[in-house]
Symmetry: C2
Subunit: 560 residues, 2 copies
């Protein structure tokens, strides 16, 4: 497929505008049933507001609804001066503005050491809301790709006509990122955040005319000189690659701004209606897909995305491995422990401080009283509290629950945008709650937690792909040892807070949790983010092992 695209690319600069329309726009615009634009203004406004209130009802359960909570995220991108602003303003006037959020970013270089989407993660609609998001992750990606493409074209301007080969640089980068983003978006959609992606287009002549219009405000260009023909050619080449690779963009022709606004509002209405249809619990996943706009408006190009071996099959629990049943009891002498501890802590602190911008994410899971807190305490002992963040994860807060389940973790990743010093995040309980407590307690449906293994693998892969070091522990304890620790907690006044009713309830479901842990370890032990299972019946030994594994992972990541 990328081969084919490269060939098409090579032809483009000759007649950008014509080529763009012919190959891509026509193909997309034509199948749109024009009848859908026949709704008059009042009818459309009423329909929009009705859909908004129906969506809101999915969040509030009032009026009673059977739909699952669902939000709609509208990505607005495209060429400058193509009527995006006017279209969103029109939408805002026609809907109930309290249920519509509008956010915008300008494109910029994606931040190093974090996935492109991370900088945008705050901008997610709550379930029940519609959010229009100008710019978004695509603005960053387009900005970076344009930069590469322009740099590459400068380098080859003097040379011969082997453009095709030269373009491989930005093409390869761009297509790879597009695949990643598509996957990310797929997981958003699967988790109650429906997407509408609108690409506004105008031809070069209209663009030039509007740029010369004194009313136009040029401050929102992608920091790009749109007066340059070369630049527009490059932009269109990039845009064509985008639209060819991702067939879920709606192209909106911005030549007539009023019509573009009208088209946009109709698309948003349809997206809300589709979101409502697909959030009905009775429809199966396949039925949902066939009612979605994609298959209605476009020739269906079913891209096979790579799925893991597990996803499509019926879920088969794995056999519980021995190391989860028979926990080792090897003891270490206290003096030896103290000596080893200090040596390992010192080494780990050195490694953590030598991480050269890379971010480190620690994930601690394990049965209650397995010693997560104690292990974390030894891990951070040689560090300054300003160097790390510890997140103690419990039930989500209400506003967190109104987003995809990974959202509350996305927002807690080390982030270069905020002024936090720390680039080390330590999670005491994690996103694996989806396949542990949420599975066992039925907070997630079977479909949801079974799908979550792959979603989590993709999430971690996005992190490791940008150099984040993901270090995961399962602290294993046996049932007898747990009881001993519960009793000890009960008897130590300043430790009683650690023991709750929930702990006893969870203990009753011991075997469910062990099965869940076994399935989790089997399905999410990836090369880049492997699990470390630590036997913790002996706390000292366990703490040393935790440090050892971190040292090993960091050394490997640095190539030491």
């Amino acid at each position: 497929m990328s081969q084919k695209n490269n060939k098409t690319e090579a032809n483009i600069p000759q007649a950008v505008s014509a080529q763009f329309s012919e190959d891509v726009i026509e193909e997309r615009l034509m199948p749109n049933p024009l009848s859908q634009f026949s709704m008059d203004e009042d009818a459309l406004r009423l329909a929009l507001i009705t859909a908004q209130y129906a969506l809101r009802a999915t969040r509030q359960r009032a009026p009673t609804t059977t739909n699952e909570p669902t939000g709609v995220l509208v990505l607005v991108n495209g060429m400058e001066q193509a009527g995006k602003g006017g279209a969103v303003k029109q939408l805002r006037e026609w809907v109930d503005p309290r249920l519509l959020k509008v956010e915008a970013t300008v494109g910029g270089c994606p931040l190093a050491h974090q996935p492109i989407w991370q900088a945008h993660i705050k901008m997610m609609p709550r379930h029940g809301d519609v959010m229009v998001y100008f710019g978004n992750w695509y603005a960053d990606l387009l900005y970076n790709t344009m930069r590469m493409a322009i740099a590459e074209s400068k380098n080859t301007d003097d040379s011969s006509e082997d453009n095709e080969h030269e373009k491989a640089g930005w093409q390869a980068y761009f297509q790879q990122q597009l695949v990643k983003l598509k996957t990310f978006e797929k997981d958003l959609v699967a988790n109650h955040t429906k997407l509408l992606k609108c690409w506004f287009h105008v031809d070069v002549e209209t663009l030039q005319a509007r740029l010369n219009d004194t009313e136009a405000d040029p401050q929102f260009l992608y920091q790009i000189d749109w007066h340059s023909k070369k630049v527009i050619e490059t932009f269109n080449a990039v845009a064509v690659t985008l639209l060819r690779q991702q067939d879920d963009w709606i192209i909106i022709d911005g030549k007539d701004k009023s019509q573009a606004a009208n088209h946009f509002c109709h698309e948003v209405l349809q997206a809300m209606q589709n979101a409502l249809t697909s959030s009905q619990p009775m429809t199966t996943k396949n039925e949902t897909k066939s009612s979605s706009k994609k298959s209605k408006n476009h020739k269906s190009k079913s891209h096979k995305t790579p799925e893991s071996a597990f996803e499509s099959e019926k879920f088969e629990p794995v056999k519980i491995p021995t190391y989860l049943k028979d926990i080792e009891n090897s003891k270490i002498d206290k003096a030896d422990y103290q000596k080893a501890l200090i040596a390992k802590q010192t080494r780990l602190a050195e490694l953590l401080r030598a991480r050269n911008g890379h971010q480190v994410v620690f994930a601690f899971e394990g049965m209650d009283a397995a010693g997560k807190g104690g292990a974390i305490k030894r891990l951070v002992a040689p560090l300054d509290p300003r160097e790390y963040q510890i997140y103690n994860i419990g039930a989500p807060m209400l506003y967190e629950a109104e987003h995809p389940y990974l959202w509350r973790f996305w927002t807690k990743l080390p982030n270069q945008q905020t002024d936090r010093i720390s680039r080390i995040a330590i999670f005491d309980r994690t996103w694996y709650g989806r396949v542990l407590v949420e599975r066992v307690e039925g907070f997630a449906t079977e479909k949801e937690w079974q799908r979550a293994y792959d979603e989590i693998n993709r999430f971690e892969a996005d992190l490791t792909a940008v150099g984040t070091i993901v270090i995961k522990y399962w602290l294993a304890i046996d049932k007898k040892e747990q009881l001993k620790r519960f009793e000890a907690r009960k008897e130590t006044p300043h430790k009683q807070f650690k023991l709750t009713e929930d702990d006893w309830r969870n203990r009753d479901k011991w075997s469910d949790y062990v099965q869940s842990a076994a399935d989790m370890l089997a399905r999410t032990d990836t090369a880049d983010a492997p699990w470390c299972v630590v036997a913790t019946n002996d706390k000292r030994q366990a703490r040393l092992e935790v440090l050892d594994h971190a040292i090993k992972q960091l050394s490997a990541a640095y190539g030491l």
Copy 2:
């Protein structure tokens, strides 16, 4: 007072360390009853956790508590290598970490066009939580002051000994900012967010020894060369000014790190206990004060802060002014309106775009159906949706209600840190809800809403002081006209969503709302953020007036 300080300052560089201890530390450390440090570790841990759970109960109302919801914010500042990190680590180990948040910033130049506190506003504990915040707004202020002081001392190094006069630059800036922050903090405390301010100190010799220790991690210095004697002298001079002007800092001697950690944990415990005491509804404000740590540990220096004419008196409602009772009905011809509208919109857009980094905040208040939405629509018509944010304010969300009532507005101010393009925030209903709906419906106590006038004035003064242009409208309508509009909404299908049960209920309390509006207009009509009362029985005329006032305010702000 600043005179006296300047004199003291001039003597300091001779023997920084001794002077620092003598004048400030001794004075503060001595009265501390040493007995409070006698609690053994287990007792302290238990007391800390007990206090945490009692605080959490103020948020969750479980177990039942009569205390008002209360959070505790612990500011940690001071000299480098003074044991701050170790103290916080100690605290984290001794408490339930799920109820403790730790955040950190490094000091940097405060952002232009926003109050110093704004960059830190996300870091506020929820009611029921304790948050330890390293750096915080004081790090920014100290960074900036140090920069000024060092630049000033360089300029005068060659000249004669009139240091005293030369220091006026940073001193004046610093003291002015300290007054502002103190006021801001006072309002935090009054709104359920108690403060503990800890200043860690070590003498120069200890600092030097620790800096030369290879274990020390120098990455958290205030981007300052601590090996320079000059720098330390300046820092101490600045610190002395801070501690003299603000008597609510607890000084913690970092010479013995373990004792410092112990001292810190005791202070946090006491702060939590004081927060619990002062959040009991039966104590009057004065009783609360006398039980607080301040009067216990320090010589009480009662600073009279400037209060408005209203605050200390018994609240007297004002007489309803005529313009809120007899709404004008002047009409404008449609053609004239259209022409005037376009001219004014064009002018306003010009002015908004010429604002040169300044931020603009629009506040719209008024009775239901007074035309806020329509006025905002005409205001933004000439702008691109990416240039502004419209916030439709309703009841706070749960997590917003777990912060000071202004917090949800603080976080919505135009903010240079986030990548939002917009520097214009438009509020459709505002923080004035405190003295309108919250007063009328009893959501705020009498004390709370009566205090709010001054809090709001201070909030807006903080904004205008940094050049933000605050433009406030009260849209006035009469009761008959409102009914007409309600009926119209009822009959237009796509407008029905605008009419709710609440609107009819509010209408029943018409005179309460008019009285509240009158009081609000009388008490918050300040020179820098004046109200514009617009008669809106005629919508067209009203919309033009809204534009006129904005044009006038912006022109005045730019000195046009």
